[in-house]
């Protein structure tokens, strides 16, 4: 199964022109700020709006091609969508929500409810089958939305900001579950998000979008290692550290450890936002951050009123501080500095 698409749509003043390919099994993330046109692309893929130029092909089936006049509307596409805010049907129970797609496609009620119940069990919500969406937590609602989208066995799954509605505390756990459920789905998967950490932790490849266009795409390693523009560097500039986690401590291959808040044991990635890294000239004596590493400044890069500082050490890091903080520290390339990060500021997810 493959998706091959070029979406050209004019939305008000925004001209969206995006090429997107995805293979079965892989997860492609469209990463970009609000208003970049990400949701527009997703709606075109779902068949909720038609492209003005370009084409959408899924498994050699043409879904949309203005040049030949083909347009398959949403209800006839084999595409599941998990919407932002989930958009569950409030007047139906969780079970009826999941069964909806089967009922709409003419499956008899008994079979539909039985299959829906199986899916609710698969996402761990068998006990909540009779609950209305208003009685579900954000994470539970997301899993119902996922089961509802997958119950009809779609060829492609689209996710629009599936984690944006969650608070920070549940986000990490829900993200881990989402990864697991997505891994079990064999079709094409496209994820839209404005959060680089979501993209890294869930997707295999990313396409960075800005002002209607893809400014860079590739595997996460490629894009983070070689951001081809300042914009991409800033957006994806999250420190990504691979290592082995045991008992809340991540041991990095090149030596060095990262203390984290809670982490599954085994091979993991730890993500640290540059804004979470604080710098001091002397080693912190008894501050709250659990991580403190001696570093050498490699580069100082000013971006407006913020400064990105490349640090070399056992664990190479990028820190982002304000110009005022830089003026206080007076850092130059080659200076010695201590970088510290609170354990709770480290996002950990299985590799």
């Amino acid at each position: 199964m493959t998706l091959e698409a070029r979406v050209c749509v004019q939305r008000g003043t925004l001209a969206v022109d995006v090429e997107l390919d995805a293979y079965a099994g892989e997860i492609v993330a469209i990463l970009g700020p609000n208003g970049a046109g990400k949701t527009t692309v997703l709606r075109a893929l779902a068949g909720l709006l038609s492209v003005e130029a370009g084409h959408i092909r899924l498994d050699d089936r043409v879904l949309d091609d203005p040049s030949t006049g083909v347009f398959v509307p949403a209800e006839q596409r084999s595409v599941g969508v998990v919407f932002q805010d989930y958009l569950l049907f409030r007047h139906m129970s969780a079970l009826e929500n999941v069964a909806f797609g089967l009922r709409a496609r003419g499956v008899d009620k008994r079979t539909a409810l039985a299959r829906a119940a199986t899916w609710l069990g698969r996402v761990g919500l068998a006990d909540h089958a009779a609950n209305r969406p208003s009685a579900l937590s954000g994470g539970q609602a997301q899993r119902v939305a996922l089961a509802r989208a997958l119950v009809t066995d779609p060829a492609m799954l689209l996710l629009d900001e599936p984690l944006a509605a969650l608070d920070a505390a549940t986000r990490r756990e829900v993200r881990r579950d989402l990864r697991r459920h997505l891994a079990a789905f064999p079709g094409v998967k496209v994820l839209v998000t404005h959060d680089a950490v979501d993209a890294y932790t869930i997707a295999d490849r990313i396409a960075v979008m800005d002002a209607g266009h893809v400014v860079q795409s590739g595997t996460i390693a490629e894009v983070t290692a070689h951001p081809r523009s300042r914009y991409v560097a800033e957006l994806v500039g999250v420190n990504l550290i691979a290592g082995r986690s045991t008992g809340g401590v991540v041991h990095v291959a090149g030596g060095g450890t990262v203390v984290v808040a809670d982490a599954p044991d085994g091979e993991v990635f730890a993500a640290i936002r540059p804004q979470s890294v604080s710098l001091s000239l002397a080693a912190p004596v008894d501050g709250s951050p659990r991580n403190s590493w001696p570093m050498v400044v490699r580069d100082v890069d000013r971006l407006g009123d913020r400064v990105r500082i490349l640090l070399a050490g056992a664990i190479p890091l990028t820190a982002e501080i304000t110009v005022a903080a830089l003026d206080a520290l007076v850092l130059r390339s080659g200076d010695r500095v201590h970088a510290s990060v609170k354990a709770t500021e480290v996002e950990v997810y299985p590799a």
Binding site: G47, L48, A104
Partner: protein, 279 residues
Amino acid sequence: MARHSQQVTNVAVMRRRPVPPWPVLVLAAVAVAFFALPFLGLLWRAPWGRVIDVLGEPEVRTALWLSVRTSLTAAGLSLVFGVPLAWVLATVGFPGRGVVRALCTLSMVLPPVVGGVALFAALGRRGIAGQYLYDWFGIRLPFTTAGVVVAQTFVAMPFLVLTVEAALRQHDSRVDDAARTLGGSRWYVFRRVTLPSVRPALVAGVVLAWARAIGEFGATITFAGNFPGTTRTMPLATYLALETDADEALVLSLTLVVVSFGVLIGLRDRWLGGEAAIA
């Protein structure tokens, strides 16, 4: 958890909600009295000893039964045609939509007698459409029970259209999008997702339309006349009785009040969950 604390907060806010200033309370009390007094008057003046007698009269029972039948039919017709009209007005942007909406709700602000005259000009024996109805199909609407239903529907449907259209406009169309990606045709999505989400407004619209229909007087007497058994509905019978037997008029009025009130309460408990407002 978050939802729970939200509710708790709401309750706390409600408890702390300040009492309106006293002039507001006084004016509100006057308004309540204004609505309550006529009913008290009815109860006070009602000839309780004659209630059974009056209700036992065949003409009264015929009029009551006719009113119930015609008003329910009118409410049903308003539902069948009004919901599609509301759907189109709410979702389809076409040139002249404002004009169409104004036209379809004009009868709400029109004096009902004028509506009756207009219906006569349209559907009477010599009317613009009525002559063909009669010549081709032998259908005659004026001065028939069907004419009563037409007159009632004419004045009642706008209430349903406006209520339902407003709710459809507020409905989050992204939920319909979600249903479509799950394989629902437009009609299926409308039936299973859109309509249930506007159900309180739908019920309110039907109740308003029905209430307007059962109280209809002007358009009915103008277009359908005042024939016992076929077109003399309760309001007509009440008005007629006032000239001959004031006691009977009072009993008939009281009956209409009880029937209307009963339907309102019944609908509220069954379909509105007893909490949602009827507006």
